[in-house]
């Protein structure tokens, strides 16, 4: 794992997403989130819980439903998330937590990780 500040929990998680993983395109969002919960450092998971709470506080639907319904898919891939994040940035779809500026979809995924 690259060396980043402990408080950049989101980024640790994003790095996890960016790191080479054997993800198949048949995995659903929830399954991948579960896999990351098992393998990520505890402080990263703790911070994902913060994202989840903020996600709900801002009146959003459950992140799993958001990801599946909003994107009309329950398929997950690292490349898809990366592509959608870029689109979120281009279309001004942001989610802000503790001042950290995230694309909405990546925030939903992090919230999903922190949802259990």
């Amino acid at each position: 794992m690259t060396n980043i500040t402990r408080r950049t929990f989101i980024l640790q998680s994003i790095v996890l997403l960016a790191a080479p993983m054997a993800i198949t395109t048949t995995k659903v969002w929830a399954s991948h989130a579960e896999e990351l919960r098992k393998t990520s450092p505890p402080e990263a998971i703790q911070e994902c819980k913060t994202v989840y709470l903020e996600w709900l506080k801002q009146g959003n639907i459950h992140p799993e439903f958001y990801l599946e319904n909003k994107l009309n898919t329950h398929l997950f891939s690292k490349e898809k998330l990366s592509h959608i994040t870029k689109s979120d940035f281009i279309n001004n779809k942001f989610f802000v937590v503790n001042g950290l500026q995230l694309g909405k979809t990546e925030a939903a995924f992090l919230a999903l990780i922190g949802s259990t």
Partner: protein, 528 residues
């Protein structure tokens, strides 16, 4: 010749062609430009060749706003002026700085960017940063660095240059002036008064003395005031007290529109990889010079978003330095000292608990010079330091107080604040950076909006650039000097320095001060 006024025991009257008031950057450049021709020049400076406390005390202000740097410390009152302690960072203003921007009141200069551009190369030589300009292509080619902003449609890289050894203007140019046949420098010469013929609209003479108060006088054809951004206004207000505001102050503009360069530490940037930002953004040397890159909002983005110019510097930080827990601990401590509860009290408490080990590390280091965490010193990200353009406001002003200095001249008072519009524009620009589509593959940004009271309060930094107090304008109603820097209502009295800037831009003013002064010298040579 260098004349020490303290050694002149009887009142004297001197006659000359040009009298330069002030021996700082502008005064020295002007004298240097007039050196070697038939024009007789006298330059008067309050100090001598080095710092002297009694003289420096003449710079004490009566009052300044909370957190504002005391003018006693930010300025130096001896030959060379504030160049005796500046960092010598130089950048040119941008074309947009000279243009009228309908979202910024009182924006626009009465001269064009092109009028100053032709003088920038010579100004760069004065400032010791060579003749190669600031073009990114040129320096990238020479120093082989990566443009970290390529790919962004909103931001680009701009370069600041400074010599390895800062240019002390009197040290660099003084001996030539002292040896000159047509220049006489009077040191320990404090201007106390000015004689103005109202009918002819002409300054006839200035009166000066050392701290021993023996009065002397200079009669000249032309006078140029080069005291600096605060002192130009202070002395002009002083002169106007006896002259019914005829010297550029008919419309109460002297001292107004005072601008600084507020500097904030309001965002953190976390790249996915440690070496994303090229080392040129931390500054790299090139023989005798330091080249420092930073981010800048494109002109089109400024226009589209109706926002101000900002310099973005990237300051590499360790995990310890970027700890949110340490930051929250400071906020909680500040609030306790004021017996207040901060906004987001719960979040700050959680931050402190989560970063308890880094807080302990910080405590160990500061109290016991000890450490238990090597990881605390590993790369954490970047602090983004932003120097912002302050928009002109009539209510930001310097004026005369009731207390006087040793020479019986009223001390200055300063009213100044950052407008809510400027604060909002600073956040807007930082948000543009944080949400730039180009950035999403590189890293993420955290805006420290929950720390805004500290950022704009006790943590607010300053460029210590004093601008706008005798601003340039086409008409007297809106300014103090005309486009040729002649004081309105006079035929032979000029001002040079950052006090004439109608807008401050977002870069250090010295390069532009020098350029404007060289331009003024060219114009004076035509009429002398």
């Amino acid at each position: 010749m260098l004349v020490d006024v303290t050694k002149i025991n009887n009142s004297q009257v001197y006659n000359t062609d040009v009298c330069i008031l002030g021996g700082g950057v502008a005064g020295i450049v002007l004298a240097n430009e007039l050196e070697g021709n038939d024009t007789k020049v006298i330059m008067l400076d309050s100090g001598n060749e080095s710092y002297h406390l009694e003289t420096q005390e003449l710079y004490k202000a009566q009052s300044v706003p909370e957190h504002f740097p005391a003018p006693f410390y930010s300025r130096l009152r001896f030959l060379g002026g504030s160049s005796n302690h500046w960092e010598n960072s130089t950048e040119r203003l941008d074309p947009i700085d000279f243009e009228k921007r309908d979202w910024i009141n009182d924006s626009g200069w009465p001269i064009k960017y092109g009028d100053v551009l032709e003088y920038y190369p010579a100004a760069e030589q004065y400032c010791g940063v060579g003749k190669d300009g600031y073009q990114l292509d040129f320096w990238q080619n020479k120093l082989r660095f990566k443009d970290s902003f390529s790919g962004s449609e909103l931001f680009h890289t701009a370069l600041a240059k400074s010599p390895q050894i800062p240019t002390r203007f009197f040290k660099k140019f003084g001996s030539r002036l002292v040896k000159s046949k047509n220049i006489n420098i009077f040191k320990n010469a404090n201007i106390t008064d000015l004689v103005f013929n109202h009918e002819l609209q002409k300054v006839i003479s200035v009166k000066f003395s050392s701290l021993n108060k023996i009065p002397h006088q200079v009669n000249a054809k032309i006078f140029i005031m080069c005291f600096g951004g605060l002192e130009n206004a202070r002395m002009l207000l002083h002169f106007n007290e006896k002259n019914a505001n005829k010297l550029g102050n008919e419309f109460d503009n002297v001292g107004r529109y005072f601008m600084e360069h507020p500097t904030i530490r309001a965002a953190h940037f976390f790249p996915f990889k440690e070496n994303t930002i090229d080392k040129v953004y931390e500054g790299i040397p090139d023989t005798s010079m330091q080249i420092l890159a930073r981010g800048k909002l494109n002109k089109s983005a400024q226009i589209k978003n109706k926002t101000i110019n900002i310099r973005l510097f990237f300051n590499k930080q360790t995990k310890l330095q970027l700890s949110e827990g340490i930051s929250s601990a400071h906020i909680l401590a500040d609030s306790m000292n004021k017996s207040e509860t901060p906004d987001n009290f719960g979040s700050h408490l959680v931050n402190v608990l989560k970063d308890a080990d880094l807080i302990a590390e910080q405590y160990l280091r500061s109290k016991f010079n000890s450490s238990f965490s090597e990881d605390a010193d590993s790369f954490g990200g970047y602090q983004i330091i932003s120097m912002i353009e302050q928009t002109p406001s009539r209510n930001n002003r310097i004026y005369l107080g009731t207390e006087t200095d040793q020479l019986n001249i009223k001390k200055l008072k300063i009213d100044w604040k950052v407008s809510s519009n400027d604060k909002e524009n600073a956040w807007k620009t930082l948000r543009l950076f944080a949400q730039d589509p180009w950035l999403q593959s590189i890293g993420r940004v955290r805006l420290l909006e929950d720390e805004k009271y500290r950022i704009w309060g006790s943590q607010l930094g300053f460029g210590q650039h004093h601008m706008g107090t005798t601003k340039m304008s086409n008409i007297a109603q809106n300014g103090v000097v005309d486009p040729s820097l002649k004081v309105f209502g006079t035929s032979n009295f000029y001002i040079s320095g950052s006090s004439v800037f109608p807008t401050g831009g977002h870069v250090p003013p010295t390069l532009t001060i020098v350029a404007l002064t060289i331009k003024l010298a060219d114009e004076l040579k035509k009429i002398l």
